[in-house]
């Protein structure tokens, strides 16, 4: 019972914050609402017996990637979208778009959900079986990453290095000298 309450609470927070993210005028507010959404997802991961992923979500996504977004928003002094322009071009404020757009989004949700639920036993409560392995251990995760998935791990670290160098080069000011 408390699990159901926390699930619905976190799910409502995640969906609500995400809808507000795409509907906000001010990009600063969008970033902060997305952080709230990530917090809710982190709670859901804890419910799914993945505490390390939950904490990694906060450290990596909410603590690092979002700080990067925040810095860029502040650096560019990203303008709040202009009032009149906003009302004229804002997609969610136009009748046709609102009707058809919402219909399309709903259709997308139904299609995705039905594709995902091609699993035959989708009604089984998650966590009901194999409770022995549920106390995971970060040690098992580590062992698996460094033995079975070593290649992916090394490739990802090279990817991050390339991205880091690329980001610095791309954002550099072109000096005349």
């Amino acid at each position: 019972m408390p699990e159901t309450i926390t699930f619905y609470l976190f799910a409502a927070l995640a969906v609500g914050a995400s809808v507000l993210v795409i509907g906000q005028r001010n990009p600063m507010y969008s970033v902060l609402l997305l952080i709230a959404s990530f917090g809710a997802l982190s709670g859901l991961y804890i419910q799914l017996d993945a505490p390390f992923v939950a904490v990694a979500q906060i450290i990596i996504y909410a603590g690092a990637i979002m700080v990067l977004f925040l810095f860029v928003v502040m650096l560019l002094n990203a303008p709040k979208e202009d009032g009149a322009d906003w009302d004229r071009t804002h997609p969610l404020r136009q009748r046709g778009v609102t009707r058809w757009g919402t219909l399309l989004v709903a259709l997308l949700i139904v299609q995705l959900a039905s594709a995902l639920m091609a699993v035959r036993e989708y009604d089984t409560p998650v966590g009901a079986q194999s409770d022995a392995t549920s106390v995971n251990s970060v040690a098992d995760l580590g062992r698996s990453i460094f033995t079975r998935h070593t290649f992916a791990f090394e490739a990802t670290s090279i990817l991050i290095l390339v991205a880091m160098v690329g980001a610095v080069v791309l954002a550099r000011r072109e000096d005349a000298q």
Binding site: V53, Y122, D140, H149, I160, A163
Partner: protein, 100 residues
């Protein structure tokens, strides 16, 4: 205990919201944020299925997705900064000079 279908419907909803954001918003940063929403929805699906199957592979894939998302956000934002310096606007419609 929450049935798996609840988690799947939730992640489908988040994915659709993210996709709507990418298509509908006219601000480069908000588009990148919507892409992050989609990546998170996918992470949730992986972890839910991983728990359903009783093994750790779902969580492992999540790390790689998070890492790639971080790399993509960094490079994407660097591009946004470079574009903004060029054109002083974050509206993707300002960058259509190659459109015929």
């Amino acid at each position: 205990m929450i049935p798996l279908s609840h988690y799947l419907i939730l992640s489908a909803t988040l994915f659709a919201i993210g996709a709507a954001g990418v298509f509908l918003r006219k601000n480069l940063i908000t588009i990148l944020l919507s892409v992050e929403i989609m990546l998170n929805a996918v992470n949730l699906t992986f972890v839910a299925f991983g728990r359903f199957a009783g093994d750790l592979d779902g969580q492992i894939i999540t790390f790689f997705v998070m890492t790639v998302a971080a790399a993509e956000a960094a490079v994407g934002l660097a591009l946004v900064i470079a574009l903004f310096r060029h054109r002083e606007s974050l509206n993707p419609d300002a960058f259509t000079s190659l459109k015929w």
